[in-house]
Structure formats: structure tokens, C-alpha cells
Symmetry: C2
Subunit: 353 residues, 2 copies
């Protein structure tokens, strides 16, 4: 099995820590390693030194090399121009086919957190078996609350055959639901969160491109013919449709499987999610730095430079300090950090983007 | 008239901006000059270059020299050890008597803000006239709200005689009152805030020491006898009682006057008071630095290093950022910043004091 880690995201919800030049996957959000480094470290002992590949845009190549100095050149898959995930997956599939022929490939986002690593390895094992039998395999994260922020997977019939863990054919994918629907999903016990991690063989996914995204498939074939012509590659890739792998293939394909699991998974989608990754004091204060407080509770504080934080009479805040910005945000409004970034884009000053 | 600026305070309520080594009077809280520099600048054109004197402890001598390089050595009055204001006033009176004989002296805290400078000068003029007639003169700041944080002056009979402004004999001083009492004071129109600024002649105040603080008076006489013996001076001053000028003299003296005035005076007693000194945006946000906000209001932000602040969905906060600390404080609890400083004193780390 080969691992393609997708490190091309440009999220803005971790501003001011994440910047255009250094998005979330390259940051140390919790713990001592960056999220990309964590993602790679989590694969040992499954992955040998040559089994891990990182997919990203040109602007992040230096960051990837800095953070993963052990990576050889051929382990870096560079998107010529930013497109959505379907072209990105196609490029990775071609790259791996040229090196290894028809292997099982796992697509893993570089910016998720997984607490139960042993279970993660177990699921990968079962997924590889299903992939070899022609399935497109998803992780079915068991929901712990009626989230309106994740897409859901509705399971269908169990899949028979010898495997370490039970698995199910996927009945359908559901977009981020309204709260009432999310509650029904949770109550039914038949719905899972879609984590955006996928496992399949190179040939299975190429066949899906041929069937469901013929335009992209032709571009991929052309790319494969002139693999070393970088100018042509950029021109071809620029014509690829901006479509996600979920929309382009997963929702249309027939043989899609899901493996229920817990994983203690967290997509670390915003500052609030970081709370779950940090230890809290008895007053519910989570911090990556030293703090003193008086009459405060349920806050998250993050200092990029290790400053002392002092909290007096405040609750339910996220406070983030970086070398040039201080963010103070009501915890229930962390998604609105995007609005600040939007305003900086529109009105400047752009140096803070 | 000579001006003795008292710059010996060690307030903790402006932590983390104010530190043990650099208290409030040496900081730029609002505007472009430090509070001490503002206090001196406010005296021109009343004061000639040799008319201003600064009283402070040894630990602040270098700061005073840095901030007021035009000051000659004789204009620095150094308290040998920290005592309360009565000994400090006595030392300043002796110092001025030795240089100028029996002059009018104004005692001015180094860390107050005064908006209406022309009115301030006018009151000083009237105060000097009263001082020359033997009065101990106070500023009677007209209260604008029922403050429980200031002491009050109850006025008595008007004082006759030609003066620029009306003045009154003081009936009595009242300590910081409970809210209901403060409301009655405000409604009566006969009470003023005691600003801690005083004007009198050297001989008048020395006579008051003789009458009401004979122990301190003896020490002052001994100091005067051996003025240049610094070792003796320290030994003598160490024996001075730790008593405020208000308690030691003002509350006991008979011929005390007050001059009603507005001044737009602010003792800048805590972070909340700083708000009144800064311009606010339409959402009630006062800042000494650039900020962006989304759904926030009524906050005060202060950055020692000019960082960008971003506020999302928060209200009624004070946020202060210094090179090593970030303070986030509910606006109604700014007085509790003292508790943080107390905790740092008790438990450390002391580097933040």
C-alpha cells in the first residue's frame, strides 16, 4: 500500500496562525510536530520510507521539504496549478502507477488529527483487502454528536468475506445536513461521518475516472503520455475541471464500501476543534502556553511565541497571539474568523493574510 | 510657584504594561508622551525651566532622567526609602525652602490625565492667591457620576476676596463612599472629588506638620540640619511614619480651601479609565493600534508593539498585549488585574512582575 498525503489546502479558519504562505497542515496546532509531520509519523510502522507521497502546490514545496527532509524528490507530487481534489487524485494515481504499477493507494488529508492510531492501522488493513477486491473504500467515522459540519455516509448491506473488521456497502453520501436531519442520522445508527480519507487501487480509481469524469480521464491520459514535459503538464492540468473527488466519483460510483470506526478523529476544522486536542485545567481552560487566571473558564489560548496569558473574568473565548496579530473570538463564532480574513482580502492590509 | 511632581507610585492595576521596574507614570498610556512627560508639558507656560521638581524613589531616578533630560540634578528629589505621601511632601517642602525660601508649592501626581489645560492653569492661579493667604488648597473636581472609587470633599462657606474663580472652605473630607452615599453626594451639589493635587506655601505646610505630625516634623528638622549627609538622611527618613498627607494633615487642618473645577480630570486608575482617553469607533471600540472586527463592541485594546487586533463576536473586554504577556479582562473586572499580580507575587513566575 502507498500513501498519498494531500497537503494542498489553503484554509483560512486558523488565521492568524495559518497564513496564505503557511496553511494549517504546516503548523503545530497541538503537540510538538506540524500536522503534516503527525500525518506521516502516524503511518509508521505501516509505511516504509519509500511508501509515503505528498501532493501539494508549488508554493508549498519548500515547506514540505523542510518539514519532511527524509522525502526523496519522487515522493513529492506537485500540482502544476491548484484544482480541486479529483484532478489531484488523478495526478497521484498516475504518479504511483508509473512507479509501482497497480498498487493500493490511500489518500489522506495532511491536516486531520487521529487519536486512536492502532485502530487507524487496523482499518487501513481491512481497507487494503477491500480495495484489492475492487472496492472504493471510505472510513465510516461513528458520529459522537449531531454535527452539521460534516458530510455523512449512509451504510447499506454488510460486505461478506474474511476481514479484520466489519464493512458495509455505501447506500449514499449525504451533504452537511441541517441539525434536525443530523439528529436523525445520529439516532439511526446507520450514518457515519465522511472523513475525506479514501483507499482504492490505482486501476479501480482510473476506471472510475473513465466512467464518471471522461474529460478529466482524457487529460490524465495525455499527462501520462508526456509525463516529463512540464510545460505541457501545466497546460493540460489547467484544463482539468475543478471538481471534488466526492462529487466527481464517490457519489456516482457503485462499488463503494465503508468501514465503521471511531479513531478519535478530528478534522481540526477551526479553533474550537483544537480544544479537543489539548488538556484542560479544572476551569476548562486549554492552553499551549503558561497562563494565570482569575474568575475565568472555558477558554482556549494559543501563543505562537510562548507568552504568558492572563485571563480575568472571561469565559468562552478563543485568544490567539502570533508575531503580528492578536485574535480574540467568542467561541461560538470561530467560523466567523473567515469574515475577518475576507475583510483583510477586500480592504487590506494584505500583509496580515 | 514651584511644582513638585510626585512620581513614586508603584501601581499594579496597569499590569502587564506597568511593571515593578516601570510603573504607570513612566508609560505612554494614551497619546505620544509618557504620563510623567504629559504632566510636565501641561505646566508650560506657567512653569519656567527651573520651576519643576520631580519626587521619586531611587529605583526610578534613571527613568526620570531619561524621560526628562532637561531636568537639572537639583530638580530631582529622591526619597531615600519609600514612605507614604506625608514624608514625601515634607521632603519636597524642605528641598524647595532651601532653594527658594517660602514659595508657593503645587503638589501634582505624575500619573493623572487632565483634558482642560486652560482651566487647570486658571485654577492654579486662584490656588496660588489663596495659598499666599495661608490656605491649604485642594482642587474640587465636580463629580460627573456617583463614583465609589474617589474620596470626596464637602464644601463649606464661600471664601471672599478677589480671585479668578470662586472657592470654598472645606467642611470635611469623606473617604471613598458606598454607592448610595456617592449618589447623595452627587445630588447635593456640595461634594467634589479629591484629586490628590494640593497647593500651599512651604511655611504653611511646615506649620501643619508641626501641629498635626510633630514626630515627622522633628525628623524633617533633623533632615534639614544634616541635609548633605546622605547616610543620615536615609536613617532619618526610615523612621518617618507611613502616613498619607490626606490623613496626616488635610483631614485635621482648619484652613483648607477647595476650588470647584471640571478639568476633564481622570486619575487613570485602571484600564477602564483609559477608554475615556481614546477615540472610539462607532461600535465603541477604543484602540491604540490597528484593528479589524466582526460583530464586536465596547472593547479596549492596547498593543505595546502595534500588532493588528482582530475581534470576533466579543464585547466589553479589555485586551492588552506586551512583549511577554497577553491580558484578556472583562471590562467590569479591571480592578481584579491586581489579583493576577498578587498571584504572580505569591507563586511566580516573578519575571512577569
Amino acid at each position: 500500500m502507498k500513501f498519498a498525503i494531500m497537503a494542498g489546502g489553503q484554509g483560512t479558519r486558523f488565521w492568524p496562525l495559518s497564513r496564505e504562505t503557511r496553511p494549517k497542515q504546516f503548523l503545530t496546532i497541538a503537540g510538538s510536530r506540524t500536522m503534516l509531520q503527525e500525518t506521516v509519523a502516524r503511518l509508521s510502522p505501516l509505511a516504509g520510507s519509500g511508501d509515503v507521497f505528498v501532493v501539494c502546490g508549488r508554493q508549498y514545496v519548500d515547506l514540505v521539504r523542510d518539514q519532511l527532509p527524509e522525502l526523496k524528490s519522487e515522493q513529492l507530487i506537485v500540482e502544476p496549478v491548484p484544482r480541486n481534489t479529483a484532478p489531484c487524485v488523478g495526478l497521484a494515481a498516475l504518479h504511483l502507477r508509473r512507479l509501482f504499477g497497480n498498487v493500493v493507494m490511500a489518500l489522506l488529508p495532511a491536516d486531520h488529527s487521529i487519536g486512536r492510531v492502532a485502530e487507524f492501522h487496523e482499518v487501513l488493513g481491512t481497507a487494503a483487502q477491500l480495495a484489492e477486491r475492487g472496492w472504493l473504500v471510505t472510513f465510516g467515522i461513528e458520529p459522537t454528536f449531531p454535527s452539521t459540519g460534516y458530510g455523512y455516509i449512509h451504510r447499506g448491506e454488510p460486505i461478506a468475506g474474511e476481514k479484520e473488521r466489519p464493512s458495509f456497502a455505501v447506500e449514499r453520501f449525504a451533504e452537511k445536513p441541517p441539525l434536525e436531519t443530523a439528529r436523525q442520522f445520529l439516532a439511526s445508527g446507520e450514518y457515519y461521518w465522511n472523513s475525506g480519507m479514501f483507499i482504492w487501487t490505482v486501476e479501480t480509481v482510473m476506471e472510475q475516472f473513465r466512467r464518471h469524469m471522461p474529460e478529466l480521464y482524457e487529460i490524465l491520459l495525455a499527462l501520462d503520455r508526456d509525463w516529463d514535459d512540464f510545460e505541457k503538464r501545466e497546460a493540460l492540468f489547467s484544463r482539468a475541471p475543478r471538481v471534488s473527488i466526492d462529487f466527481g466519483i464517490m457519489e456516482k460510483a457503485e462499488k463503494v464500501a465503508t468501514i465503521p470506526c471511531k479513531l478519535d478523529w478530528n478534522d481540526v476544522g477551526n479553533w474550537r476543534a483544537v480544544e479537543d486536542l489539548l488538556c484542560k485545567d479544572p476551569a476548562g481552560i486549554a492552553a499551549n502556553t503558561q497562563f494565570v487566571q482569575h474568575g475565568s473558564r472555558d477558554c482556549l489560548v494559543h501563543s505562537a511565541s510562548g507568552k504568558l496569558f492572563a485571563l480575568v473574568g472571561v469565559k468562552n473565548l478563543v485568544v490567539v497571539e502570533t508575531p503580528d496579530v492578536v485574535l480574540v473570538c467568542e467561541k461560538d463564532q470561530v467560523e466567523d474568523v473567515k469574515q475577518i480574513v475576507e475583510e483583510l482580502r477586500r480592504k487590506g492590509p494584505r500583509e496580515y493574510l
